[in-house]
Amino acid sequence: MAERTADDERATTGDRSGVTDARETPGSDAHGDDPPPTVELRAWALASFHVATLVAVGVGLLHAGGLVGDLLSGLGTLPGVALYLLLWGLTWRTNRRWLLAHGPPGRGAVRPALTWGAVTGVGFLLGALVALAVALEPADLVVLVIFAGVGAPVAAVVGAAVGGVFALVDAALCSFADAVVGAARESA
């Protein structure tokens, strides 16, 4: 079994001692590209869970409204995959930062999740618009810039709301996992 690092221990126990404010600030990266292995596993799983659930719920709502076939047929295979990877990549990155700063999700991690959710929302919008800009004529770029200016605050609010909801769900899932561990200890 791999030797545990101090950060791994902190992430496991939720210990906030020694966690600097810099880690909680979007844009900072105190850990660089080498986070503890179990934080990496949690970030990988939770980011994938968030994005897959978001897409599945979205498709379900479209299906309920009878819109799923028409809307999805207009989205090509490669653009669809690219959008999914963009959202997953941003979510993975923000989830990893969130977990590094706060350990396993708990109720105290909901407020920072709002911030990271907003970062993800704005990042997704801007990433999608940059990809769209490649296919546009230079004259149309002004419209795209205006759209980005108007859309960014909306994307931030939507992203924060989604991030907050998933933080609450993650906290509930972690509590359930803790309960399973507790029951296993008692029965041992």
């Binding site: 596993l41 994005v51 599945a56 498709v59 379900g60 309920a64 047929s73 669809g80 999914y84 561990v181």
Partner: protein, 147 residues
């Protein structure tokens, strides 16, 4: 690549991703339920579970993406009625199974960190449930594909 070929490739990738997810859980279920085999250590089971979790979530992303691609291939001709009801049931199964899978991964993280063999039995149950869940989704997918 023609549109028809693209749709075939998307379906192939969809099936392969399900094979990875379902096959992995079906292998880990008995491996954790029976205890470590003679030539394997607890660390091997831990490493196998961690590797599976990484693969599972990658496969989940591929399944959702290619599933959306399959729907797009239908275009405006997407069937409703019974087909629509089965599809809604499959989506419900996905949305219920994903958070349950997240709990399983969180348990695997604890398994790796400190709890060790203590969590082998709960994880065996989790992998059994995953196998049944994914098997159910395969049955629903077959109904959707062939009526």
């Amino acid at each position: 690549m023609s549109l028809h070929t693209t749709h075939l490739v998307v379906r192939l990738v969809h099936v392969l991703a399900m094979a990875v997810a379902l096959g992995g859980s079906a292998l880990l279920w008995p491996a954790l339920a029976r205890g470590p085999p003679r030539l394997a250590t607890e660390g091997v089971r831990t490493a196998a579970a961690v590797s599976y979790e990484r693969l599972f979530w990658a496969a989940a992303g591929v399944l959702v993406t290619t599933g959306v691609g399959n729907l797009g291939a239908f275009g405006g001709a997407l069937p409703r009625g019974d087909w629509g009801a089965v599809f809604a049931l499959k989506l419900l199964g996905v949305v219920v199974g994903l958070p349950a899978s997240a709990v399983r991964t969180l348990l695997v993280a604890r398994y790796r960190e400190a709890e060790g063999p203590l969590l082998a039995r709960p994880l065996a149950v989790a992998y059994a449930a995953t196998t049944v869940w994914l098997g159910g989704l395969v049955v629903l997918a077959e109904v959707l594909a062939h009526g």
